[in-house]
Structure formats: structure tokens, C-alpha cells
């Protein structure tokens, strides 16, 4: 038999550590810090298991009443143990201790409790809690009118859990787009069987699981599969999956969102388990998966029962207790009470018994459990059937529970009571399938009266639920459902079905679960000690009753008024009990009350991971002109115009903006200026119907425009407002060259295409964007003609042969250009349009040619 507390070597202070078993690596002891103090642990621990191993049961204070709180769960449903991990720029707020894999040197801090989690002055709130019932803040802090600011400071002081880092994130994140035939969310027994069945057909499979290891419930179970421990079977399956070239296996990866058209988001945590910051590695990766078929095998979440003071440290979910005992070799208590309304928690009693704890089972059902009751009996575990825990004694740690035996129906007044000393209460109110992704995909859920839970209804996308997230509890049935789901999904994708043999497991007989949510108390629900529904938010049965009394009757109203489900666990733990409380209060059934909406993310997702690479320099593309490098070398600041960076002004000798602009304008007025106008949009319009088309688009009579002439064109929207403007040049009989504003270029092209393709498809016109293909150099000022002439122009430049608003193909400095005589400035001006590959060369030639006139950019 295991015995806690007598480990040799480094584990001397790990008072709750078992000396054998579990999936921790005793050969790799590590140290972590909690609120500044160092503690020993082992590689393979989570922060939660390490805290419990070290006998730390008080890990937080609740949001409103600042009540002491302990670890309640073992996974993403944990409401209490919300920690600040790390320091400085790599600190991470609000992680659940149950999901933090320990590395050597990890530093964790509690996020609630001032000055200390063990002594919190605001715990006074608990004494005056009747003042702070649901929605109390709507009823006060109103007078006098401008005192709201002061109240707000007080309220905000109490806000939040962790602290955002004070420095930019040194880590980077990445996106990965993936397509697959079958995406499997969850690698427990059902998910693994599905992966085998689908993978063997040759289908492209991605299987993701939020935990560090595949196996799901099997990691903490004692069941045998094919005659060997479940974890060995898991190892065999993993080995086979890893041998399949088209299977991608993603541990530490949470499918957090199920969006339209079978698009799913998966958050892969790549380095968080290695250290605060791993240089050079992407910390997290957001997989953006488009799946042909989806198999949801995320398992189920155990729910607590609601009784007075059911939030005291030392009260945990039964499944979490089993997980800590079996997977992490931590026995969180020495004298345990298991309180249940179903058979499965009996296994927790057996696990605790094996770990050396003294255990009593309190079962609300008169008939108790089936096969597992025999095992409990064989292990000499006392079982009290037809009994409840009604209240809990102890503040910072449970030290006893009040137990009553019930006579007849559940609502009768409670008579007999005994007090049972204990330091651990393992509680199970049954299980709720994790229908979150199914719901996000648009599927509804239906209430199952036998299993007492919402199960996924019909899928509306290409998806199926398998295993306990489908409300299927027995292991053998989960395996079978997973295999079937994998087979069907692969065949839907056109793959031939491969043979899969179901592994042999023991089939256990269970008695039915009892519909028990709120345990009757000695006083009525408004007067009895608090019965918590949502631990993190401090929503109690009395709050729900108050909300309903005040007219907030819809489940969404109750949720919003009491804030139930608004915590970082998003009501995973408590919402179902809240719905039951509403149902009880309104005299309705739970399905009549209905659920609140499930929204992404399933568990929280890092902003950085959602943003991926698209931040900083890659936030949005920077468009630079072909001449950019010259401008930069000349010291021009860049003006940001949409995506473009264009030269703003060219300061000389410490000039400011206004001085430089004035000087540049004067130069253009008196001599010659030059400007890189390449950011203007340019569109080539060709075709026999080009004239007809442009006449419908512009306000001009385009047909009259002679070849080689330009006009200033105005483009109107259908509402008659000016949409864009620019120069239109007729290059040939059937060919035009349009310029647009810098910002309007893409929009104008789209607008032209829209008309051409949808309204007038009979017009033979072709549009090509030349914005990047050609660069534009505007030369303006009285000396501009001389500058152009200096470049060795092969066309006559005098005003009669090359008049205003004309365009000529020309050769300048030996390079072919379209030369425009247009002006933005009112001065004599030319615009050189040139292949962008030669634009810089031309610019330099212009600068040289203009030197004698002191040409000014």
C-alpha cells in the first residue's frame, strides 16, 4: 500500500506525495516557487499537483467575498486556482494551476488576496455578504450624481485576477493553415480509437488534445485494456499513429473554436512547458484547420453538488481527486468523504483507499451503487446510502462535514444529523458532456432524462460526437463509438474502411444517477450558509433566487444579473447547477430553462497566438515606390498613405516641415521641382468598346478625346457624389490610360470590373492595373521643359507641338516613357511614366539634368 509522507530524498516536504505510481518522473526532481517560497516537485507535475503534494490547499480568494479557495478540479474547468506565472515581460496572467506544466524554476503567484492569500482584509465582505447580493451595484452608488467616479475607483480596485505584462512580449507566435480529412478533438479513448480507424484508411488525420499527454481519462484510470494498463494501450496507439505519414498528432493543443464551413481553430502550446521564454521558438501556434469531417471527442466535465459552504478548500471534484492520486501520485487528504449521486465516484473512493486514505462514501441514492459498491465493500469502505452532506465546517480548510440521512423524499425536513471529521471531500454530481464545440458549430443540445445531462443533438456541420462528450460513459462503449466515428468519417471522405478490432475491456454495471443538484439544507435557501454555484464569481443559490424574485427569469437574465458563468471557466463547472436552481425556482424542467450560448473560446486563447505573425512589420504590407531608396537616403520622412510610404518633405539643415514645404513650393514656382508620384493608381483600359465603357463611367464625352490627348476625369458613384478623380489619357484608338488617387486605386479597379463583368458583359474591354508596373516622376516649374530637354528627349517639347493635356510616347535619357504634359501645381509641368525597373535610373537622370536649375525634390 502507498503511504504519503515518507518519501526518501528530495521529496521530504511533499507531504502528500505517494512513493510509487503516477506518471511523474521521480528521477527528475525540480523546484518551483509559490508566492516567493521554494517547493520541491517532480517533472511531470502540474502546478496544481505540486501544490497539493506540498500540502498547500489555500490557493486563492474568491472574487466578491474573498473567501478562501482551494483547487477544485484537475483541468480546464478549474475555477479557483488562477495564477500569475513568471515575471517581467514574460509573465502570464490568469493561468489555471491545473493546466500549468511545471518546469524547474517556475514562479507562481496567487492573484487574489491582499495583503496575502492567507490573510485577506477584504474577507470582511463575506460577513456583510447579504448587502452584496446579485446585482447590488445596480441599486446603489448613484447619489450624489458625480460621486460615481469615487465609487468606481473602489470597484476597479477589486477588479481582475492577474496582471498584464508591463513590457512588449519577447515571444513570437505563428499561424499554420492546415487541411485534413478528419480532425479529431480530444485524444481520450474515443478520440484515439477514431484516429486509429480513420488513420488506417489512409485519411489525412489531425488529432489534437489539450493535455500534455494523449490518453484523456485513461491517464488517471485504473481500467485494464486488452489486459494491460490503459496507459500502455495508449502508448501502443500513439506508436501506431506516429507510424502513419498522414496523421498529425498535436498534444498540448486545444481545439478552441468551431466556426462556419468546418473551419476550426486549434491552439498549440509549444514552449510553455519548457520555460518562460524559449529563444527562437514560436511560443504558440494557432492552427487554422479546414476539415472535411470533424470528430468531437472532448470528453465530459464532472459537476459538483451544491450544499452549504461547498467552496471550502479541501472540497474537490471526485474525478480530480482520482487524477491527482493516479496520475500525479498525490493524495490530497488523509480522511476523505466521497459525496455522490452516481456510481462512478465510488472509483475515487477505491483510489483514495489504495493511496492509504481513510474513506467514507455518502451516496444520496437509497439503493447506492451496483458493481462498484461490492468493490467498496470488499475494501471495507463504509457507505452511507440515502444521505447528504448539508454543510461544511472549517474556513481555510474543510475539517468536518454535516451529514444527514434522508427519510423518504428529498424535500422533507432534515432531522437526524451527524458530523464527520475529514480533510477532503470528493464530490460528484454526475457528468456533463463537453458539448461546447458541437454548440459552437451551430448544433443544438437535447436533455437526456436518464443520464441527466445535455447531449449533442443533430450536427449541422460535417461532424459527429463520440464518447463521453456524446453522453456515453462506459469505457467499452466509448471505444466502440470512437472507432465507428473514425470509420464513418473516413468513408465520408471516400476512403475504404480499414479493419479495427475493439480492445477488450471490462464492462461494469452501473446504477442510475439520481437527479440531485441542490442539497436540501437545514434552513431555507435564502437563510442557510452560502451554497455556491459559480465558485469564481461567487454566485450562490440565494443569488439565483433573488434574480428570479426580481423578475430576471430567463436563463440569460439570471446569468447576466448574477454574473454566473462569467468567470474564466465560462461556467464549465457551475452553469448546469445554476440551470437546475432556476428550474427549481420556476417550477420548470432544466431543458425548459435551457442553456446559455456556448461561444469560442473553449478555453482562453492568447491574443498573440490569434494575431500570429501579423504584427509589427508584418501587420500590414508596406508599399514603397521604385525610387524609395533615393528618398530615404535624401532624408525624407515618409508619409503614410494607406499601405504606401511616400516621401513627405526633404528637409535641409534642420528645417522643419513648414520651412521645407515652403522652400520646395517656391523652388517649383521659381525654377523647377520634382516629385515621385508613383503611388497614384494607374489603370490600362483596352478593347473595342473602351470608349463606350468609359463614357458610362466618367462624366466626360470620351469619344471626342483625340489620341494623344488627356483630360481630367471625374468618376461619380451612383449616388451622384464624386468617387474618384484623375487623368484620363487616350493612348490609342482602343486604349486608354487612367490615373486614380492613391487611396482609391484598388476601389476604382474593383468598381470598373464590377460594371464590366456584371452589368455590361457584352462590352469588349480589358482592364489591367499598372500601379506598380509604372512609376511616375512629375517635373514641375518654369524650367521643367529645359530639364526634360536636357534628358535628351526625342519629341518636340515646345508648347505648340506638345501642348498642355497631351501625352506622347518618347525616349528620355535613352529609355522609353509615356510623357504627359499635365500639371498638378499650375506651373508648366511634365509627368514621366516609366517602367518601374528603370524608375530610379530615370529619377537620377532627372536630378542630374536639373542640377543647373537647382531642381528640388
Amino acid at each position: 500500500m502507498n503511504s504519503p509522507g515518507n518519501m526518501a530524498g528530495s521529496g521530504h516536504s511533499q507531504v502528500n506525495r505517494l512513493d510509487t505510481g503516477g506518471r511523474i518522473d521521480r528521477a527528475r526532481p525540480i523546484t518551483f516557487k509559490f508566492n516567493g517560497k521554494a517547493y520541491p516537485a517532480f517533472s511531470g507535475d502540474t502546478l496544481a499537483s505540486a501544490l497539493l503534494a506540498n500540502g498547500i490547499s489555500l490557493v486563492s480568494r474568491s472574487f466578491k467575498y474573498h473567501r478562501p479557495r482551494g483547487i477544485m478540479g484537475a483541468g480546464g474547468e478549474e475555477p479557483n486556482a488562477i495564477m500569475q506565472i513568471g515575471t517581467g515581460a514574460t509573465t502570464q496572467p490568469n493561468l489555471r494551476a491545473t493546466q500549468v506544466e511545471l518546469f524547474d524554476g517556475l514562479a507562481a503567484k496567487t492573484t487574489k488576496g491582499w495583503p496575502h492569500v492567507n490573510f485577506d482584509v477584504a474577507a470582511l465582505n463575506d460577513l456583510f455578504s447579504r448587502l452584496f447580493g446579485a446585482g447590488f451595484y445596480y441599486k446603489t452608488f448613484m447619489f450624489p450624481r458625480h460621486s460615481g467616479d469615487t465609487y468606481e475607483k473602489f470597484i476597479r480596485h477589486a477588479a481582475g485576477f492577474g496582471t498584464a505584462p508591463e513590457h512588449p512580449d519577447p515571444d513570437h507566435y505563428e499561424h499554420c493553415n492546415a487541411h485534413c480529412d478528419v480532425l479529431i478533438a480530444g485524444a481520450g479513448p474515443a478520440g484515439l480509437m477514431a484516429a486509429l480507424a480513420a488513420g488506417r484508411t489512409g485519411a489525412r488525420v489531425i488529432i489534437a488534445d489539450e493535455q500534455s499527454e494523449f490518453g484523456g481519462s485513461l491517464l488517471a484510470a485504473t481500467d485494464l485494456i486488452d489486459g494491460k494498463p490503459g496507459t500502455e494501450w495508449v502508448g501502443d496507439v500513439i506508436a501506431e499513429l506516429d507510424s502513419m505519414p498522414d496523421v498529425i498528432r498535436l498534444p498540448r493543443s486545444t481545439v478552441f473554436g468551431y466556426f462556419d464551413h468546418n473551419f476550426l481553430g486549434v491552439l498549440e502550446r509549444r514552449t510553455d512547458h519548457l520555460g518562460e521564454h524559449i529563444h527562437g521558438e514560436a511560443r504558440q501556434r494557432e492552427w487554422r484547420v479546414r476539415a472535411r469531417q470533424v470528430i468531437l471527442a472532448q470528453g465530459a466535465i464532472e459537476r459538483p453538488l451544491v450544499f452549504s459552504n461547498n467552496d471550502r478548500p479541501g472540497i474537490m471534484l471526485a474525478s480530480a481527486v482520482s487524477t491527482f492520486v493516479n496520475r500525479y501520485a498525490v493524495c490530497p487528504g488523509k480522511r476523505a468523504v466521497v459525496f455522490t449521486n452516481n456510481d462512478r465516484a465510488y472509483q475515487t473512493a477505491l483510489d483514495l483507499h489504495s493511496a492509504g486514505a481513510k474513506v467514507v462514501i455518502i451516496d444520496s441514492r437509497q439503493e447506492g451503487a451496483a458493481a462498484l459498491a461490492d468493490r467498496a465493500h470488499a475494501a471495507s469502505i463504509p457507505v452511507m446510502t440515502g444521505s447528504f452532506i448539508t454543510n461544511v465546517r472549517g474556513g481555510r480548510r474543510v475539517h468536518a462535514v454535516d451529514v444527514v440521512h434522508r427519510d423518504g423524499n428529498a424535500d422533507s425536513r432534515i432531522a437526524k444529523q451527524l458530523t464527520m471529521e475529514c480533510d477532503l471531500v470528493a464530490v460528484s454530481g454526475g457528468w456533463s458532456p463537453a458539448v461546447h464545440l458541437h454548440s459552437q458549430s451551430g448544433g443544438r443540445n437535447t436533455w437526456d432524462d436518464e443520464r441527466l445531462c445535455f447531449v449533442p443533438g443533430k450536427s449541422v456541420q460535417e461532424a459527429v460526437s463520440a464518447g463521453s462528450c456524446n453522453g456515453t460513459w462506459p469505457l467499452d462503449e466509448c471505444l466502440a463509438e470512437g472507432a465507428e466515428a473514425g470509420r464513418v468519417a473516413a468513408s465520408q471522405c471516400g476512403f475504404d474502411i480499414a479493419s479495427v478490432t475493439l480492445p477488450a475491456t471490462e464492462s461494469i454495471e452501473y446504477n442510475a444517477i439520481e437527479a440531485l443538484w441542490r442539497v436540501p439544507a437545514r434552513k431555507d435557501p435564502d437563510r442557510c450558509p452560502k451554497q455556491f454555484i459559480d465558485y469564481q464569481i461567487d454566485t450562490t443559490i440565494a443569488d439565483v433566487r433573488l434574480a428570479i424574485r426580481e423578475g430576471y427569469r430567463n436563463v440569460e437574465h439570471v446569468k447576466r444579473y448574477t454574473a454566473m458563468g462569467f468567470g474564466t471557466d465560462q461556467g464549465k463547472l457551475g452553469n448546469i447547477n445554476g440551470m437546475a436552481a432556476i428550474a427549481e425556482c420556476l417550477g420548470k424542467t432544466i431543458p425548459e430553462v435551457g442553456t446559455t450560448t456556448f461561444r469560442p473560446a473553449y478555453t482562453p486563447v492568447t491574443f498573440g497566438a490569434c494575431a500570429g505573425e501579423g504584427i509589427g512589420d508584418l501587420y500590414e504590407p508596406v508599399r514603397k515606390t521604385a525610387i524609395h531608396v533615393w528618398h530615404a537616403n535624401a532624408g525624407s520622412p515618409m508619409e503614410i498613405v494607406g499601405q504606401w510610404h511616400r516621401p513627405w518633405y526633404f528637409p535641409q539643415d534642420g528645417e522643419n516641415l513648414h520651412a521645407a514645404v515652403a522652400r520646395e513650393c517656391l523652388a517649383t514656382r521659381n525654377s523647377v521641382g520634382v516629385m515621385d508620384a508613383s503611388t497614384l493608381g494607374k489603370i490600362d483600359v483596352q478593347g473595342p468598346d473602351a470608349v463606350t465603357f468609359l463614357e458610362r463611367i466618367y462624366t466626360h464625352n470620351v469619344g471626342k478625346l483625340k489620341i494623344g490627348r488627356c483630360t481630367y476625369g471625374i468618376m461619380l458613384g451612383e449616388d451622384g457624389m464624386i468617387m474618384d478623380d484623375g487623368v484620363m489619357a487616350r493612348i490609342g484608338e482602343r486604349r486608354f490610360y487612367l490615373t486614380t488617387t492613391t487611396g482609391g486605386a484598388a476601389h476604382v479597379l474593383g468598381w470598373l470590373e464590377l460594371w464590366l463583368q456584371t452589368e455590361w458583359p457584352e462590352l469588349k474591354v480589358h482592364l489591367t492595373s499598372l500601379t506598380d508596373r509604372y512609376s511616375t516622376i512629375a517635373v514641375a516649374g518654369p524650367h521643367s521643359r529645359k530639364v526634360i530637354a536636357n534628358l535628351g528627349c526625342d519629341v518636340d517639347l515646345d508648347k505648340d507641338s506638345f501642348p498642355f493635356m497631351t501625352v506622347r510616347p518618347a525616349t528620355l535619357a535613352g529609355l522609353p516613357v509615356q510623357l504627359f504634359r499635365v500639371s498638378f501645381s499650375g506651373e508648366l509641368a511634365f509627368e514621366i511614366n516609366i517602367d518601374s525597373n528603370y524608375a530610379l535610373q530615370m529619377w537620377q537622370a532627372v536630378m542630374a539634368a536639373g542640377e543647373e536649375f537647382d531642381i528640388t525634390p
Binding site: F259, H261, N262, F263, R290, V460, L754, Q757, E759
Partner: protein, 88 residues
């Protein structure tokens, strides 16, 4: 991220497309003959249905072609995509 089947290029992510709104709105042949109300109806008024919707999309980051999409505005399911001018 919708998955949209461009009639010319095949199925692509929504991020490659731009949406042009309701389709099948013909430009009046002689706007001058219309009252302001009739013109406003053409210009601004939209069916905006809850359910099946005929709309225009442009494969802006691809072939740049506009095409018709029949999409449900509640389920977002796309029943069909087809080139301009083809009836479904």
C-alpha cells in the same frame, strides 16, 4: 472563415474574396425617366433577407472575377456559386 467555391478557381478561403452585396439588381436603362423614389429604390433599397440570399462576390485575390453566390444569411451555408449570367 467561409469556404467559397469560385466558379473559375475552385474552393478558396473567404479571405481571398470581397463581398459585393445583393446581386441581380439591374441598372435602370433610362434613369432620367425615374422618379427620385424609384431611383432611391434602385440605389439604396435592399432585400436583406433572413434566409436564402443571392449575392455577388469577387475573387479579389485570385482571378478577380465577380460571380453569384446563393448563401443562407442565418446558417451561412452556401447552396451554389455560379458565373454571372448563368441561372441556377
Amino acid at each position: 472563415m467561409l469556404l467559397i467555391r469560385c466558379p473559375y478557381c475552385g474552393a478558396r478561403d473567404e479571405s481571398e474574396f470581397s463581398c459585393g452585396g445583393e446581386s441581380g439588381i439591374s441598372r435602370p436603362l433610362n434613369p432620367d425617366a425615374l422618379s427620385d423614389e424609384q431611383w432611391a429604390d434602385y440605389l439604396f433599397m435592399r432585400k436583406n433577407p433572413r434566409g436564402a440570399h443571392q449575392e455577388l462576390w469577387n475573387h479579389a485575390q485570385g482571378c478577380r472575377r465577380w460571380f453569384n453566390v446563393e448563401r443562407d444569411t442565418v446558417t451561412y451555408k452556401i447552396a451554389a456559386t455560379r458565373p454571372i449570367g448563368l441561372k441556377g
